[in-house]
Each structure stands twice: as structure tokens, then as C-alpha cells.
């Protein structure tokens, strides 16, 4: 049923907390996600033209890189930005589904697609502001992050392995998994401490996954240093002095 489950106080909300300060954009989460999910719940995750000039395929996790800059003369900052399903509390991707293939689990809030009943109309991908759902061109159905539902409850795994593949793979510890419905959980405390934020909160989807903003960094030293070296001579190199003179002349 694509109607959403009733929300109860103390509701379990499993999700991820992604630390944009420590993510280095190594793509380990994306590749381990692909590796796990192409044999798990979402199997197979298609690849097209995999060894050709323009390989593409269905991935459930995508890592963007953004340049953040306050002013033209300031050093820009690169932020690596993993993007996957946020397992929203108000997921319009679920309610628009005409078949009931998309659903939000009452017990833990995970949003899933049943690959047996999805008709591949793609409307859910239109309804998602976060681009979390990708169409599998070979399978004809939508694929999305399952929060590794086939790992996190897997009794065949050791306790420490019962976490999503992306979290397990992250070499810098930038990804955290837990219950965001429990204010005392490790992830909730992390969000409170680091002012974790929602993506596009104004759209009202109430994402469960949170992002931890990059920590503040001082740009002043970098700015001052570069400005100084352009103007003042260090008295050592006549050639450098010549270039400085040329720079001043040409700058007029």
C-alpha cells in the first residue's frame, strides 16, 4: 500500500548521517554499494556499455563534488557530497506510486521498492527532489537504496557487519548508521552536536538522513600570504623582482 504508515511517538527511523567534513570523495561507499546490491535485494543492478566509451548503469549512491567559495579572492573549498535515498518521513515517491510497489516500512521507516510489482512508470523518480531513484533499463523497474535491509538484520553476519555496505566501506568514518528516531542514539547525538541538517527542508519531505556540515576553516592566512608575496620583494631574486615590476606595470 502506498499510503504512508501512521507515525507513532518514538518511531524507529533508521538512516544515515553523512559527515561532509571528513568525506574525501573516494567513492568507496558507491562501489561497495554497487557491489553489495548487485547481488542482494536489488539484484541485478544493470550496467550498460560497461567496457565502452561511455559506461553507465544504475547506482544507488552518487558522490558529487562542490566548490564552495565566499569571495573571488578566497581559496575555494571542495566538499564531497554523497547523495542517496534519505528515507524521508513524508516520501512523495511512495504516495505517487500507482501499484503499491513503493512502500515505507512501518517498523523502521526504510523506503523500498518491490521489484516484483513495480511497473517502471518512473513517476516516483519525478516525485523525488533528491534524485534517489534510478531506473534500471534492463530490468524495467526502479532501483533505490535499501539501507542494506538484507545486511542490517542478517543473522548470518557478525554483529559489527550488520550495517549498510557504504558505512562499512567508508575509510574515513564519514558515514554513520543508526536510529534517528531515538534522541539518545549515537547518530542523533552526533547530529545535535555537529548541527546536522536536512536537505531541502522547505520541501516538506522530512528526510531521515542527515548531513553534518563541513567545519569552519580560516581562509585569512592563505589570503594574506598570497597578497604579500605579490607585492613585496624578498630581496633574493632579481628575476622575481623583474616579474613583480612587470606585474605592477601591466596592472596599471
Amino acid at each position: 500500500m502506498t499510503s504512508l504508515p501512521a507515525q507513532v511517538p518514538g518511531q524507529k527511523k533508521l538512516g544515515l548521517v553523512i559527515d561532509l567534513d571528513t568525506c574525501v570523495g573516494c567513492q568507496a561507499c558507491a562501489t561497495s554499494c554497487k557491489e553489495w546490491n548487485t547481488q542482494g535485494y536489488s539484484a541485478p543492478l544493470n550496467d550498460r556499455n560497461a567496457y565502452g566509451a561511455s559506461p553507465e548503469g544504475t547506482w544507488l549512491n552518487r558522490i558529487h563534488g562542490y566548490e564552495v567559495k565566499a569571495a573571488e579572492d578566497e581559496q575555494s573549498r571542495i566538499v564531497h557530497f554523497p547523495r542517496s535515498c534519505l528515507h524521508c518521513e513524508e516520501p512523495a515517491c511512495v504516495t505517487v506510486c500507482p501499484t503499491g510497489a513503493s512502500y515505507k516500512r512501518a517498523e523502521d521507516g526504510i523506503v523500498l521498492v518491490n521489484p516484483e510489482t513495480c511497473i517502471g512508470c518512473k513517476l516516483c523518480s519525478w516525485a523525488c527532489p533528491y534524485g534517489a531513484r534510478e531506473y534500471d533499463y534492463d530490468d524495467g523497474v526502479m532501483k533505490k537504496c535499501t539501507l542494506c535491509v538484507d545486511r542490517i538484520y542478517n543473522k548470518n553476519f557478525a554483529e559489527e557487519d550488520r550495517i549498510p555496505a557504504c558505512v562499512k566501506a567508508c575509510p574515513t568514518g564519514a558515514r554513520h548508521f543508526g536510529d534517528l528516531g531515538d534522541a539518545e542514539s549515537k547518530v542523533s547525538r552526533l547530529v545535535a552536536e555537529r548541527q546536522g541538517y536536512d536537505l531541502l527542508p522547505e520541501m516538506g519531505y522530512k528526510p531521515v538522513n542527515k548531513y553534518l556540515p563541513p567545519r569552519k576553516r580560516s581562509n585569512e592566512k592563505l589570503k594574506a600570504a598570497s597578497a604579500e608575496s605579490e607585492i613585496k620583494s624578498d630581496g633574493k631574486s632579481r628575476v622575481e623582482d623583474f616579474f613583480r615590476w612587470a606585474d605592477r606595470l601591466l596592472s596599471r
Binding site: Y66, V96, C118, K122, A127, C128, E134, G140, Y211
Partner: protein, 314 residues
């Protein structure tokens, strides 16, 4: 948004079909059984044919068309499901209306009710179609109060022109048909013009800074690296920008086609002898306008996710 050609064919063909069927229902409500059996039969067959063609073509864009029947199940939450159900239910009063109108069922006293219900279901179906788009908050150009009226107006206008064309072919042309078509066409033109003006005037508050949440202190955010080397589904489906750069020209084309439809329809009034060729030309213009408008409706739509892929605003 990438314009799925099957969806454009679906919404223009079935729009004209529902418009025609609704008007036939109202004609039946007003006049009773068909005075011309052949006109009635052909008009109903064309209307249901266009609707069926549209519905079939809409299943072509599905990844799993064989499972399409499942789409009838989620009417509680999904406008797409409601549209599917409404489109199928419409066939019941429509076929009953056809049978009554053509005299297959000898109960002429019921024709008015059947016609009215048919017309109502046609409106409900087109309304549901438009609601699929207008309820998507992710697309500013669709999540707009004029989306539904424009869909209904295009269905009515193309249906009215088609009704005039079919009536002309059967020698049943009346000035009233042309008048109705002109009124519906002018309404469509005005609504679409207002729609374009309003989406242009709307503030574009969604930015890459707001989407990424990385500009708390007013910084500028720019896409520095894309997550993949080739285009993915999201970029193909939501990042379509081909027609956007020709939007001004295409909008003008739609308006010119609508104006030409109005002109040719008006010309049938002083020249009823030429009603057949003129009304067929009018229908071709109207269909072209509807198809171009629908294509533009998709192509001009900017999805919020494009912000994550480097669009500054959406």
C-alpha cells in the same frame, strides 16, 4: 524533464478523445438520440479510438507494461492510479451512451443521464491526468494552479474542433459548433498565455546553495565534479534542456497555431460550403498546437534534482 513521446501522444490523443466524447455526451443530453446514425457511430468510435490509442501508448513508456493492471490498486494516494481507474470506468457510461444513442438499447429516456455521466467522467479523467503533474512539488512549472485548467481547456478545445470536423463531413455543420470551438480555443490560448507569464514571473528561489545546504554564510556553490563519467538516468530524465533554449520560439509557435485554428474555425461561419476542408485544417492546427504545447510542458519543466547536478536555479 525529458518529454516521453508516448506520454505526449497519450495526453494529446486522449485529450481530444475525451473532449469529443464529453461534447457528444452533452449533445445527447440536449438532443436525445442521434439524428444521424452514421455521424453518431463514427463520432463515438473516433472518440473511443483516440482514448484507447492514448491509453495504449501510455503503457509503452512503462518498463513492465504487462504489469500495468497493478496501477488500478493505489487510488487512495496516487493520482496516476486514479487516472487509470477513471479512464477505464469512463468506458462503461460511454459504451452505454453509444448503445442508447445508436438505438441498440431502446430506452431513449436514459440517454440524457448516460450522456451527462459520460461527459462528467471525461472531465474527471483529464482532471486526474493533470493532477499527476500539478501535485509534483519537485517541478515548479508543473506545481501550478493553471496546470489543471490548461489540460482541461486543451481537451475541450481539440475535442470541439474535432466535433465540428466530423459533423462537417456528415453534412451536419452548424455555426454553433464553430462558435463553441472558438470560445474553447480562446479560453485555451488565454489560460496558456497566463500560465507562461506566471511561471516566468515566479521567483526562482530554489538554488544550488539551498539544495546542498553548503552556503550558510552566503557562499557561492558550484558543481566541481560530477559523480559519474556518463549521463545517468537522472540526467537523461530530469536534465533535458533541448527545447528550453528554444522556449520563446516554441511558445510563439503554439500561440500562432492556436490563433490559426481560431481563424480557420471562424472562416467556416461565412463559408459553410467549405466547412469540410476548413474544419479538417483547423483540427490539424489544433492537434499540432496541443502536441507542441505538451512537448514544451515537459521540456520547460525544471526538476529540483538538477540543482545537485550543477543548475544554479530551478
Amino acid at each position: 524533464m525529458h518529454p516521453a513521446y508516448s506520454v505526449i501522444l497519450f495526453t494529446t490523443a486522449s485529450g481530444a478523445g475525451y473532449g469529443l466524447l464529453a461534447l457528444l455526451g452533452l449533445v445527447g443530453f440536449n438532443h436525445g438520440p442521434a439524428s444521424s446514425l452514421w455521424f453518431g457511430a463514427v463520432a463515438i468510435v473516433i472518440a473511443l479510438g483516440l482514448i484507447t490509442l492514448g491509453l495504449l501508448s501510455s503503457t509503452f513508456h512503462l518498463g513492465r507494461p504487462e504489469r500495468a493492471w497493478r496501477a488500478f490498486s493505489q487510488w487512495r494516494s496516487s493520482w496516476l492510479s486514479r487516472e487509470g481507474i477513471a479512464s477505464v470506468i469512463t468506458f462503461v457510461p460511454a459504451l452505454l451512451f453509444g448503445a442508447l444513442w445508436l438505438g441498440f438499447i431502446a430506452k431513449p429516456q436514459w440517454i440524457g443521464l448516460a450522456g451527462l455521466v459520460t461527459a462528467g467522467m471525461c472531465a474527471v479523467t483529464v482532471f486526474c491526468t493533470a493532477k499527476i503533474y500539478s501535485t509534483l512539488t519537485t517541478i515548479r512549472q508543473w506545481h501550478h494552479k493553471l496546470t489543471v485548467p490548461v489540460y482541461l481547456a486543451f481537451a475541450l478545445a481539440t475535442g470541439a474542433v474535432l466535433l465540428m470536423a466530423i459533423a462537417s463531413v456528415f453534412g451536419l455543420y452548424q455555426i454553433f459548433q464553430a462558435g463553441l470551438a472558438v470560445v474553447a480555443l480562446i479560453l485555451t490560448l488565454v489560460l496558456k498565455y497566463l500560465y507562461w507569464r506566471q511561471i516566468d514571473a515566479e521567483p526562482r528561489t530554489r538554488t544550488i546553495e539551498a539544495a546542498t545546504g553548503l552556503a550558510r554564510a552566503g557562499e557561492k556553490v558550484r558543481q566541481w565534479e560530477v559523480p559519474h563519467t556518463a549521463k545517468n538516468f537522472i540526467m537523461n530524465e530530469m536534465g533535458y534542456a533541448v527545447a528550453r533554449k528554444h522556449a520563446v520560439k516554441l511558445r510563439r509557435l503554439v500561440m500562432i497555431l492556436l490563433l490559426l485554428t481560431i481563424l480557420v474555425t471562424v472562416l467556416t461561419m461565412p463559408m459553410p460550403g467549405l466547412a469540410i476542408p476548413l474544419s479538417i485544417i483547423a483540427f490539424l492546427f489544433a492537434t499540432a498546437a496541443a502536441a507542441a504545447e505538451r512537448w514544451l510542458f515537459f521540456a520547460e519543466a525544471q526538476h529540483v534534482v538538477s540543482l545537485f547536478y550543477g543548475a544554479e536555479r530551478a
